[in-house]
């Protein structure tokens, strides 16, 4: 269980012939963390989406290993958490219903563990508002809910894309707590330009250096 390795092998992404990044390699094993930096529009979010499997690279591939065993896409569905500005939860459902829905899909268990979900909501400070529909939330609260979503099922790989957007001081301290905790649970990757985030991770991947 304890030796997850995330490998990026020669990742290249092109959009209509335009190279976003080329030949990008990194190798992160259990307990390691990396931060992806680069200017606006340099392809940080694209790289995060490729790591998560949401989009496929033009060339190269992502590999996930556990004890030298290759993991398939099922791993992404059950053991990866992702916070991204391009990923929204359902507006018309309440916070609790959203988490119940996604944890139901991810966990493979018949009854969702409501106590667990409530503790996640408590952790991000949305417990009081758990039965409100998400459309009534402020953008900071939505971001907190996305963080709770990413923590479902105790992810071994946690991807945070611009995690601080719209967050208040409580929210930022939550991010820091999660980042510290993740290093004991698996692998952490943050895409950001925020100086404070840089300090959270040991490795730095500058996307500008992979423009060919």
């Amino acid at each position: 269980m304890k030796s997850l390795t995330v490998i990026s092998e020669n990742l290249t992404k092109k959009y209509s012939g335009k190279t976003i990044f080329a030949e990008l390699n990194f190798n992160l094993s259990y307990g390691q963390s990396a931060v992806i930096v680069g200017r606006n529009g340099s392809g940080k979010s694209t790289l995060m989406k490729i790591v998560s499997g949401l989009i496929s690279p033009t060339a190269g591939r992502m590999r996930f290993l556990r004890d030298d065993n290759e993991l398939d896409r099922e791993f992404v569905r059950t053991s990866m958490g992702f916070v991204s500005p391009y990923l929204n939860l359902y507006d018309e459902l309440t916070a609790l219903e959203n988490l119940r829905f996604f944890s139901g899909l991810k966990s493979g268990k018949d009854n969702s563990d409501d106590e667990k979900l409530k503790s996640h909501l408590q952790f991000v400070g949305l417990y009081e508002r758990r039965n409100d529909e998400v459309k009534a939330y402020s953008s900071g609260m939505k971001q907190k809910l996305k963080i709770a979503f990413s923590l479902l099922n105790e992810p071994e790989l946690l991807l945070l894309d611009e995690p601080r957007s719209n967050l208040d001081r409580d929210g930022i301290s939550i991010i820091e707590k999660i980042a510290e905790g993740q290093k004991e649970k698996g692998v952490l990757i943050i895409a950001t330009n925020d100086e404070d985030d840089l300090k959270l991770c040991e490795m730095k991947i500058n996307i500008e250096e992979h423009k060919k």
Binding site: F82, Y90, E92, D110
Partner: protein, 223 residues
Amino acid sequence: MKNFLRNVRIIFLKDVRSELRTRYVINSLLMFVLVTISIIRFAIGDEKIEDEILTGLLWISIFFSASGGLARTFVKEEEKETSSALKLSASPTEIFVGKLFFNLVLTFILNFLILILFILITEYNIKNPLLFISVLSLGNIGLVAASTIIAAIISKANSKGTLYPVLSFPVLLPLLLTVINATKLASAGINSAEIMGEIRILVSYTVVVITVSVMLFPFVWED
């Protein structure tokens, strides 16, 4: 397999709950049905229309009501950018089958409503009701099968609203031709043995379209 069915059920129930809460599709569809049926009523006036023509009108209402609503399930996920979260949590096949069931329930409710209104306002005389309902149901399943994959395709394209009828019509035509003929015969009181051929076409069309859709859906769904 057990997990598969469980996830299909979770996705289906989520869509039902969302729909009941927002009435995104239902409200506009109900209005659409009412408007269509009223237009037909006003056009007919007091004339006595032959059952054959009424069958055609019935399917026109069904096709266009379906084109208003069935595309929504996927379009909504794209527009609200919720598809990524869904993609990260369930396999494409689970998502497709869940949406298929949702569309199926939606269409069944809608079409039986259309049928009831139709019988009330016109003097539509169905001589073999049991066969008629069976054929109508088979037609519905086929309609939903083809519509769901096309809805998935257009959810990724630009002009979503106008594209649906354009893309779905040629694909649905074999089904529509067969089912219109079969319902016409059923309403004329024929017995089931005589339209076995039509029923066979309806069933095989549905099976083929669903199989190919499930195989191709991952290509539509990935980015």
